[in-house]
């Protein structure tokens, strides 16, 4: 019951998706449509698993007065602020995500600056990392370095000013040299992914149930 049923469910659902790809005839075609809708509904809840563990984590930290527990208060401030403005917007409008609602303002004031600045930090880190790590230590590292520099310069207007053919060369590196290798890597990864999926469907791979 605990292990057999999930294995059967995985097999049946995986099988439905594959078989209905080849057999459009009833019952498979409509069955696929409904299964995918169910999948989407269930998947919506996976978002909640993360929320659930976060809330639990911070409740625990506040209870135990663990070091830095006041950050948990900040967490809940953000959490309840968003929840309250969200609920108000839901009650007022059919679509809380529409520009103009207070929920949208909350998003614009808090979420956009925080999330986008976190990623903007990477510009500094990538500069420092390229300086520190890009040393022509081996043949491989040298190739990596040269390709990176060509693309970096060739992809901005400065490259054109430096040498009018540089953008063309950068495009060529990308479209021809890079493309072939990337394709090879992608084909390898795809074969691995198909093998893994077949293992999952056939119940050979069961780590996710442990």
């Amino acid at each position: 019951m605990k292990k057999r049923v999930p294995l059967v469910i995985t097999f049946v659902t995986g099988f439905i998706v594959i078989i209905s790809f080849f057999i459009p005839h009833r019952p498979f075609g409509p069955l696929e449509t409904d299964t995918l809708i169910w999948y989407s509904i269930i998947l919506g809840f996976t978002l909640l698993i993360g929320v659930d563990s976060l809330v639990r984590l911070h409740v625990r930290q506040m209870r135990r007065r663990k070091e830095g527990w006041w950050y948990s208060i900040v967490f809940f401030t953000g959490f309840f602020y968003c929840l309250v403005i969200g609920i108000i917007s839901i009650m007022r409008t059919p679509n809380p995500f529409q520009p103009g609602t207070i929920f949208f303002y909350g998003y614009k004031t808090i979420l956009i600056p925080l999330q986008s600045t976190m990623f903007a930090l990477l510009a500094f880190f990538v500069a420092s990392a390229s300086y520190r790590a890009f040393r022509a230590r081996t043949l491989e590292a040298t190739l990596l370095l040269i390709a990176a520099v060509i693309v970096m310069i060739g992809r901005v207007p400065a490259g054109y000013k430096l040498w009018t053919r540089l953008p063309g060369i950068a495009n060529w590196v990308f479209n021809v040299l890079q493309m072939g290798a990337m394709r090879g890597i992608m084909i390898g990864v795809a074969l691995g992914a198909v093998a893994m999926s077949l293992r999952l469907i056939l119940g050979i791979e069961r780590t996710y149930l442990s």
Binding site: F22, H25, L57, A129, A148, M196, R199, T207
Partner: protein
């Protein structure tokens, strides 16, 4: 005059091929210049009047009428409406729709699926019978594990193992756990310590179990400290900052970055590089590999990670998949080789005035995968 007649606005319809029924595909040809829209109407067998059946998009001159009932005959009429005039196209015979039992256009996918699936399954069976009999290349990064752990112990420094940011269902995380087992054994043998910060709670519990087994197998179950495998945070950059802090405080001699990483990869790899640790990275996140290659001493590139975990664990399911993929690669390589040679010959023949081979070549490619429109 004949040319003009041949270009007259016309319509045809047929049962939509390879579908589950209830649909007829209507085509219009020679859409008159200046047409703004094409209205479609249909006459059911036995009825007297045409009824509205939607619009035909001009950009492709084709539409599927999915509101029909299987087995009933229909006649279609297209009305191309231009600025101040219109053109009508009508059909001669009735068409009916029906469902099909097999989608013929997808036969290549089925062939590939059956062949590849049976190869993988056969290899898994073979590996079950004789796991040592299947050869997989040893990767240099695996030898380096021993060296890195050893040197780290000599310097009296701990080992840091970061499992990536994905959950337990990710293939990279699974491979990471196998590699952790090997690292754990080495660490136990040398009497060193392994620090394992986590992003995902489930991965944390699994990693604890894995390390516990590894220490026990190395004969030192008491040396394992459960608190060295701990949960850090659920936020990407918070995690990166936390691991950074550990690196700077604990100064590990060897760092393993194994699993699925996102943008934080470069922060981790660079800090590790700056404290002078031996870094052995591995990830199935292709976009992050460049950073690891630049900043780490050894890198398991994508699939190499899976091969490494199969090599270490000798698990039939992993070995079988790697061998199956290898055989598939050989087949693909032969197909590419043969195809390129034939295509080149066809190209030379075409330049010499004989296009037949090129047509065969293009037909073969079309069979492999339907081209985009």
């Amino acid at each position: 005059m004949i040319l003009l007649l041949a270009l007259a606005f016309s319509i045809s319809a047929k049962d939509t091929p390879d579908d589950g029924g209830g649909s007829i595909t209507v085509n219009v040809y020679n859409i008159p210049e200046g047409t703004a829209r094409i209205e479609l109407s249909r006459l059911e067998k036995g009825d007297m009047l045409y009824k509205e059946a939607g619009l035909i998009p001009i950009f492709k001159g084709e539409c599927d009428d999915a509101s029909v009932v299987d087995g009933i005959g229909y006649l279609y009429r297209g009305k191309a409406i231009a600025k101040d005039t219109f053109y009508i196209a009508e059909m001669e015979g009735f068409v009916t729709s029906s469902p099909q039992w097999f989608n013929k256009s997808r036969i290549t996918v089925l062939i590939f699926l059956i062949l590849f699936g049976s190869v993988v399954l056969t290899y898994i069976q073979l590996a079950k019978k004789n796991p040592e009999g299947l050869f997989i290349r040893k990767l240099p990064a695996l030898d380096a594990i021993d060296e890195a752990v050893g040197r780290s112990t000599e310097m009296g420094k701990p080992v840091l193992f970061v499992p990536g940011l994905e959950g337990i269902t990710d293939a990279g995380t699974l491979a990471s756990l196998t590699i952790l087992e090997m690292v754990g054994k080495k660490v136990a043998e040398y009497g060193s310590r392994v620090i394992h910060p986590n992003f995902d709670p489930i991965v944390m519990t699994t990693a604890q179990e894995t390390l516990k087994t590894a220490f026990a197998e190395a004969g030192r179950p008491d040396a394992f400290n459960k608190d060295d495998v701990f949960y850090l945070t659920y936020e990407q950059f918070g995690f990166a900052a936390g691991v950074d802090g550990i690196m700077l405080r604990e100064r590990p001699g060897a760092i393993f970055l194994q699993g699925y990483f996102y943008a934080e990869s470069l922060i981790l790899a660079e800090t590790g590089y700056s404290i002078g640790a031996i870094q052995i990275a591995g990830t199935n996140a292709t976009t992050q590999l460049p950073f690891f290659v630049a900043a780490c001493d050894y890198v398991l590139l994508g699939e190499e990670m899976f091969a490494a975990s199969a090599y270490i664990s000798r698990e039939p399911r992993l070995l079988g998949s790697i061998k199956g993929s290898d055989l598939a690669k050989v087949v693909l390589l032969f197909m590419i080789g043969a195809g390129v040679i034939f295509g080149t010959i066809a190209g030379i023949a075409k330049q010499g005035g004989n296009p037949t081979y090129m047509q065969i070549f293009n037909k073969m490619l079309e069979f492999l995968a339907k081209g985009a429109k």
